[in-house]
């Protein structure tokens, strides 16, 4: 189609409700045979509807739309250009025998106006502030990439706010945000200094910048509070930048800080020439992506639009004035984006993926990043070092790292996103130090410490947040940690069960065989102790402490001819212990097994007998079966021919004196017999010839015998070493059950049972069957004994209970005072002992001893 010269075209004057089609119809009715496409092509070079609409908006100032969102012209539009109505070219009277030349000019097609967009989401801005936080970096990188793709483009910055505050205030705030971003990109620190003052950014913005710079400038917690760390960070920065070092971020310091921030790792190479004019515009609150009157991060955003430099939009906007905005809002519909009030912005943004589907703003959910556990409940050892992620030196304090759940349908975490935490403890033992807790600032303790709630926020552009839970030091206690992006904490959870791990190494006398320890480990498992053997050791025959040859004694002494039997006692146990100390391995408990257990280190081992009477009528049977005048004295089971401590003759001295007379003499070792085997413990002394003469000299004549012998104390079945609490002696010459029960019993003592001391928060009075002495050594447990009998035995009732608690078959707990043969111990700790055993932390059993 050809039209008359442009100079002959008619100028269109806006009329309400006009469209290009209506204008063309009027022209046809008037004889000018044109179409709306003719008008569009004549004016703008294209009949593409989108381009036509852009021209209607930009050239004619159209803002109203029809149902298909095409612009309608109204009389009060404020055109920035003109619309020409072409005249269909007609030439009458053309003759066929003449030559005519027609000059035709083709209207060029317009370039595409909208090229690309990029956004800086709201979380980059704090409420009511225009300070650009460090997370801007990713978005600016996107902008730079877009410009690279469209070298002919120019950038325009649109600022937006949420709806808190007045329209006018928000218009200005949005302009400041756009300006702030523009200044950030162009390294304009003066503008930032103005904004710092105008908006009172305060120390928090300084901290954010310092934190982003990092290294020696990191101010610690970004909390908006000045403190020593912040001051030190500022001083470091000042020192390195030739500023007065006073720790105060004044204007000069701020300018350098801002420049370092803008021109550092976030720098992009854009200049003012890369931007349209105006370079930035503020839309105020009128074009939210989420329809809400509340403060909303998503609405606090800045948009970058890239337009072709030759065909930028014509902006109706005016800085600091909402009137042009208001005009664009009437009527309010239709819109491409329902929440956008401004018709102009709506049409500009219609091709912007960032704005058209803001709620592709996906949901956010959280997951444990570390530690991760495949099996739950987690068997957590709280008393030893853990190689697992997040554990402290003893494993009971766990630092959790939480991040956004990696799911394509979910969005990543952003600054300001909240992770809600709920921690439930069963507090089954009552131990309260260290107290099981959620250890974060502001955590709330509920239900007597059984429930903690709290939250942490993503900040500083970090993709993870951390929080700490202390599981306490009591075995058996349970804990559930739940996290979520909402207060329901439904995103993920993990359960823990507290265990203590104790290692033991077993030392056996050469040729001895260890029984199965299943009964013991089962009993310990019931109190949440995992007992693990990490080393075996053999005590070699005849090895003993220097100067002693009697740690291994002849089996004949105990009716076991041909054997060498190992005795462990207070005099030699350290020697045997040191043989298997292994400094390279965390040490738990040593079970040192032996054939017998006698002590020989106490002063009481030296026994003196004074004035023991013998006469012609007192006879003894000698080792060869013969009889003689003398005395039998029961010394005790520890009397052996050689003193166990040093191997010297146990017969130290003996003498006799005439009762009521002057006769006296010594008694040689040939007349002193230390019994063994079935007669172990007996000392037989026969009168030497001189003494026999005295007793035979007259009827009723007596001699008085004095004697000194060395006797070990015992026997014992087991011992929990009271000094170091990690060495246990156990006599292996028992049934498997007895060895198991004695070992578990002594370990129970090592764990402070029966309530010799209690863990913090535990009430020792709740063990109602604890007794001390009463026929046994040390504190023990009479679980199973009736209250009446217990009271009688404790001496509170008139009827005696045989004076003590020894040999009471109803007592079944491992911690009952005797576990020897004939014991009715059931091989388990009783319900009274268990809470105390569970509450022990057992944290020091692994300390190396040397």
């Amino acid at each position: 189609m050809v039209f008359d010269l442009r100079k002959n075209a008619k100028k269109y004057k806006s009329s309400d409700g006009d469209t290009l089609e209506r204008i063309a119809q009027r022209e046809r009715d008037a004889g000018n045979d044109i179409t709306w496409e003719d008008i569009a092509k004549f004016n703008w070079g294209s009949a593409d509807k989108a381009i036509v609409n852009e021209y209607l908006r930009d050239a004619l100032g159209a803002r109203l739309r029809d149902a298909d969102k095409n612009f309608l012209i109204s009389a009060d539009d404020e055109p920035s250009g003109e619309l020409l109505i072409p005249i269909r070219y007609k030439k009458a009277n053309i003759e066929t025998n003449k030559k005519y030349v027609f000059h035709v000019t083709k209207q060029p097609a317009p370039p595409q106006q909208f090229l690309e967009c990029a956004s800086i989401p709201g979380v980059t801005f704090e409420f009511d502030k225009s300070f650009v936080r460090p997370s801007v970096v990713d978005h600016l990188a996107a902008l730079q990439a877009a410009l690279k793709k469209h070298p002919a483009a120019k950038v325009l910055v649109f600022g937006h706010t949420d709806k808190v505050g007045s329209e006018t205030y928000n218009k200005a705030l949005s302009e400041r945000r756009a300006n702030s971003v523009y200044a950030f990109i162009t390294n304009d620190v003066n503008t930032w200094e103005q904004l710092y003052t105008a908006e009172n950014w305060g120390i928090k913005s300084v901290q954010e910048v310092l934190a982003d710079l990092g290294g020696p400038y990191h101010p610690g917690l970004v909390d908006g509070k000045s403190g020593p760390k912040t001051e030190a960070a500022i001083k470091n920065f000042q020192k390195d930048n030739g500023l007065v070092v006073d720790g105060v971020a004044g204007p000069n310091t701020r300018k350098k800080l801002f420049m370092a921030y803008m021109s550092g790792k976030h720098d992009i190479k854009l200049t003012a020439d890369d931007f349209l004019d105006p370079k930035h515009i503020g839309c105020g609150e009128f074009n939210p992506v989420i329809q809400t009157e509340e403060a909303n991060e998503a609405n606090r955003r800045v948009m970058f639009y890239l337009f072709d430099a030759k065909r930028p939009p014509s902006f109706p906007c005016k800085e600091g004035d909402v009137c042009p905005c208001k005009k664009q809002m009437t009527p309010p519909k239709p819109r491409y984006v329902d929440t956008f009030a401004c018709s102009f912005y709506d049409s500009v943004a219609k091709d912007c993926g960032c704005e058209i589907k803001p709620a592709a703003v996906k949901q956010f959910a959280v997951a444990f990043i570390s530690p991760q556990h495949k099996v739950t409940p987690v068997k957590q050892y709280i008393n030893l070092k853990s190689a697992d992620a997040g554990r402290d030196a003893l494993g009971h304090v766990i630092e959790f790292t939480v991040g956004a759940k990696t799911d394509p349908s979910l969005r990543p975490a952003r600054d300001g996103d909240t992770v809600f935490i709920e921690v439930l403890f069963d507090r089954s033992t009552g131990r309260n130090d260290p107290k099981p807790k959620l250890d974060i600032p502001g955590a709330q303790e509920l239900d007597g410490g059984k429930l903690y709630t709290g939250s942490v926020k993503f900040a500083g552009g970090a993709s993870n947040v951390t929080f700490t839970v202390d599981l306490g030091l009591a075995g058996s206690e349970k804990c559930e940690v739940k996290i979520g992006s909402t207060a329901k904490c439904e995103d993920a959870k993990v359960n823990f069960e507290n265990w203590r791990k104790v290692f033991f190494q077993l030392s056996l006398p050469q040729s001895a065989t260890a029984p199965s320890f299943t009964r013991m480990t089962n009993a310990l498992g019931e109190i949440f102790v995992e007992y693990e053997k990490y080393k075996d050791h053999v005590f070699e025959t005849d090895k003993g402490p220097s100067g002693s040859s009697i740690s291994w004694f002849p089996g004949e002494w105990l009716d076991e001819p041909g054997k060498k039997l190992l005795n462990l006692g207070d005099y030699n146990k350290d020697f045997f212990h040191k043989q298997f100390v292994d400094d390279k391995t965390p040490l738990g408990v040593h079970i040192a097994a032996c054939h017998t257990q006698y002590d020989a280190n106490s002063a009481a081992c030296e026994r003196d007998f004074l004035n023991v009477e013998a006469s012609a009528t007192s006879t003894v049977v000698w080792s060869d079966g013969s009889t003689a005048n003398g005395v039998d004295i029961f010394v005790g089971d520890g009397l052996f021919p050689l003193f166990l401590k040093d191997g010297t003759d146990a017969r130290k001295s003996a003498s006799w004196s005439e009762k009521g007379g002057t006769g006296k003499g010594t008694i040689g070792n040939s007349d002193i017999l230390i019994r063994t085997g079935a007669l172990l413990g007996w000392l037989t002394i026969r009168l030497p010839a001189a003494a026999k003469l005295v007793v035979d000299s007259a009827a009723g004549k007596h001699v008085l015998i004095n004697a000194t012998v060395m006797s070990a104390q015992g026997p014992f079945l087991g011992e929990s070493d009271g000094k170091s609490k990690w060495l246990q002696l156990v006599v292996i010459k028992q049934t498997a059950n007895v060895v198991n029960d004695v070992s578990a019993h002594e370990l129970g003592h090592t764990f402070n049972q029966v309530v010799s001391t209690v863990a913090p928060g535990m009430d020792s009075k709740k063990h109602t069957r604890k007794y001390t002495a009463n026929g046994h050594q040390g504190p023990h447990c009479a679980f199973g004994m009736s209250e009446d009998n217990f009271a009688k035995g404790a001496g509170k009732k008139a009827t005696p209970y045989e004076g003590n608690f020894a040999g009471k078959p109803e007592c079944t707990c491992i911690m009952y005072g005797e576990n020897g043969s004939g014991s009715t111990c059931t091989g388990t700790f009783c319900d009274l002992c268990k809470p105390f055993l569970k509450s022990e932390g057992l944290t020091t059993l692994h300390e190396k001893k040397s």
């Binding site: 002063a603 007998f609 004095n706 026997p715 079945l717 087991g718 011992e719 001496g795 509170k796 008139a798």
Partner: protein
């Protein structure tokens, strides 16, 4: 330093206390002594020692030896002479599991058997190695040892900050004690002493006592008396409070059972008089003796207050008919 009952130098108590054993045995033999004889260093420099030793000998007949378990029965009592606080514990018990064993029954005769023993008060009573003065006594059934005094001196002097309320034992039932003279109360001692009578009445054990005890200055109630929760009667006129501990051990079961009272005195005390004495009576019965052993057996009752130890009284609880 010498002159203790065992004639030992202080240094001998660490490893050489048997050097006088022959003399001790001779004395025991010649005096036909049955019982417990103890000694301890008179002075201990805290920084140079790691133990607080008490040593002794236990002499008993062969016949008694078969029925007395020395390890289970021996108790040691240490009374802080400044605070009057009493610590008591098993002297020789260690945490061991004994093998079941029975002593033979035979006529052992009247001969004596003697053995020495050592006690470390740091281990047995958890006494700290800090400046303090203690009077130590060993109880073993009916046998009560002599008492010995130990002065522990720390290299760094400590300032005594005793307050009356902090020194006194907490005896919630103190108000149930009667501090008036009973018809059968022992007479007031004419010298520093505690006298006690223990008897069994139809309503249970009855302990009657009288005392005459030097009063430490710290135990004289000062101007702040009205603020001190002493739990004693006639509080307003109170002049002194004397902590007295009655310790009971048994023939069959060592116990111990400890009954602590705060005996009040209302007589004026001259703070400047070093001879100041408090005297009075106490009567313990009923609920206050709820913890007194009731199993049929013989029991031995001894009272301690500061450096004063009473004579031991026995009380037999018969079997129920």
């Amino acid at each position: 330093m010498t002159q203790g009952p065992l004639n030992l130098d202080d240094a001998d108590f660490w490893g050489n206390f048997k050097k006088t054993k022959a003399d001790v045995l001779a004395w025991i033999s010649s005096h036909d002594f049955r019982g417990v004889l103890i000694d301890a260093p008179q002075h201990i420099v805290a920084d140079s020692q790691e133990t607080i030793p008490v040593v002794g000998y236990f002499a008993r007949s062969l016949r008694d030896d078969l029925v007395i378990d020395q390890v289970k029965s021996m108790l040691v009592v240490a009374v802080d002479l400044d605070s009057f606080q009493v610590r008591i514990g098993a002297a020789l018990v260690r945490d061991k599991t004994p093998a079941p064993a029975a002593k033979p029954r035979y006529d052992a005769g009247e001969g004596l058997t003697v053995n020495a023993f050592e006690i470390d008060l740091r281990t047995t009573l958890d006494l700290p190695l800090q400046s303090a003065r203690y009077r130590v006594t060993v109880l073993l059934r009916e046998f009560v040892s002599n008492s010995v005094r130990i002065n522990i001196r720390a290299a760094t002097p400590q300032i005594s900050t005793h307050s009356l309320a902090s020194l006194l034992p907490t005896t919630a039932s103190n108000q149930q004690a009667n501090f008036h003279q009973h018809a059968d109360s022992p007479a007031l001692p004419t010298q520093d002493a505690i006298h006690i009578n223990a008897s069994l009445t139809a309503s249970g054990p009855l302990l009657l006592g009288s005392y005459r005890i030097p009063v430490p200055v710290e135990f004289i109630v000062g101007e702040l008396k009205s603020r001190v929760p002493l739990n004693v009667p006639n509080h307003a006129n109170l002049r002194t409070v004397i902590p007295i501990s009655i310790i009971v051990t048994g023939h069959d079961v060592a116990g111990p059972w400890v009954i602590s009272i705060n005996a009040p005195s209302y007589e004026a005390i001259d703070r400047s008089d070093p001879q100041a004495r408090a005297q009075g009576y106490f009567t313990l019965s009923g609920e206050l003796l709820n913890d007194f052993p009731q199993a049929a057996s013989s029991y031995y009752v001894t009272a301690f207050s500061g450096g004063i130890v009473s004579a031991t009284q026995s009380l037999t609880i018969p079997s129920a008919p």
